[in-house]
Amino acid sequence: MNLAYYPGCSLKGTGKAYEKSTLAVFSALGLELQEIPDWNCCGATAYMAVDALASKALSFRNLVLAQKMEAKWVVAPCSACYLNLFKARKEYLDNKPTREKLCRTLKKTGWEYECSGLPEVLHPLHVLTELVGLEKIREKIRRPLKGLRVVPYYGCQLVRPYDGYDDPVHPVKMDLLLEVTGAEVISDYPLKTRCCGASVAGVLEEPGLNLNGALIKEAKRRGGELIATVCPLCQFNLETYQRKTENAGRMPILYFTQVLGLALGLEGKALGMEHLLYRPRLEV
């Protein structure tokens, strides 16, 4: 498979456990992820709030770099990066004036690029469930996570506004993947796609405590012992806001790739478990 890897800023910083576990899991499944050389920031939700076309241009540059690697797919684990790359590609394909503006300007500023196609954008969850397939993953499970009660939490931007692979409000792909690990998946968790507050929660404490507090409380009420996430910002908010809630009873917040990695028999260190504030009871 020709997979280009777009880490984004978080996976090199606060989300480094996500990078470690994604690379470890992909390699255990025989998939190679090649990091896009000299990738730039996707602009997150901030760039869009300042300059709309430039925010597309940021992702366009990354997609062009991946195209030069002859990648068929770009894999972006962070939900915001995923959405930005996806949106830029969609706009490039659907909107001729935008496409021409981007291409012309890129060439004019000294880039060599034939305005041909761009690689498709996928999230690691899509690669695992759509390209690899659950059956193949099932064969590789070395250490079933029997009795581990996992709450799948998808957050927003992976499933919205584009829902090509799943339902925008009640998605199931991660549930199905986690079931393969042998864990008990709390699929009826009703807040699966309720927002953690993203960067708003990052700078405003009251909404951060309120939104994340509700997510944790409901996960506990449903009997969950850990939450599996697909996004570094969700992981960060859910983890750090527990520090301030009263009556907390800390709940580990893992990346879904860490949960899968444990079931594949990978070591805690390879999965970046040491970067977690609250560790799960099951670890190699």
């Binding site: 910083g13 602009g43 300042v50 430039a54 004019k108 931007q157 507050g197 708003v200």
Partner: protein
């Protein structure tokens, strides 16, 4: 107590924001709104907003542009797209919030010292300059520009991040940021 008129006269209304939004493909769709309030109901942050998303659309259509562009509402939108996927009229509300944020930043009508617009602006500057964002430096800049005293309240979080070896103050950047800047500047010109 000073008595003040709280309701505007029709003659005082200004529909220029509606006109400007209508020129955008996403903005024009607010004409379709049936004021059902689904957006406000599904919005996880509407409980903190000065005007709910539904009300914000009504204000735009009736000519309260100034109130809209100086509201907290647009900055409390976390871009979760719940409203966008739930709207029965298929109005891309999140994209409209983005358009309003851009206008408020450009015209400097956003609430002063409110951290969310400052974060957007500082994030933009950092990525424009370096090509990448360094999380810890961004937080420090934000605190310097909003409330420097709050820096202390971030210390326990910083300590947690240090203990889990996730805090880095090393400046991240791409190999030739000047080439990216040139591209982005040229894009800014054609985007006008």
């Amino acid at each position: 107590m000073e008595i003040k008129r709280t309701i505007a006269y029709e003659g005082e209304l200004d529909k220029s924001l509606l006109t400007r939004l209508s020129a955008l493909p996403e903005g024009n769709l607010i004409r379709r709104c049936i004021q059902c309030g689904t957006c406000s109901g599904v919005c996880p942050l509407s409980i903190y907003m000065d005007s709910s998303p539904r009300k914000l659309i009504a204000l735009i259509r009736e000519g309260f542009g100034k109130e809209v562009l100086s509201s907290f509402t647009i900055w409390l939108c976390s871009s979760c797209y719940s409203c966008t996927v739930s709207c029965p009229q298929e109005i891309p509300i999140t994209e409209i919030m983005y358009a309003l944020k851009r206008m408020a930043l450009e015209e400097k009508t956003y609430p002063r010292r409110f951290p969310v617009p400052v974060l957007a602006r500082e994030f933009y500057r950092m990525v424009f300059k370096e090509g990448r964002n360094t999380e810890a430096l961004l937080v420090l800049r934000l605190l310097a520009k909003t409330n420097i005293l709050k820096t202390f309240s971030y210390l326990p979080m910083g300590l947690n991040l240090m203990l889990t070896r996730r805090l880095s103050l090393k400046k991240e950047k791409i190999s030739r940021p000047s080439q990216l800047r040139k591209f982005l500047e040229a894009i800014k010109e054609v985007g006008k």
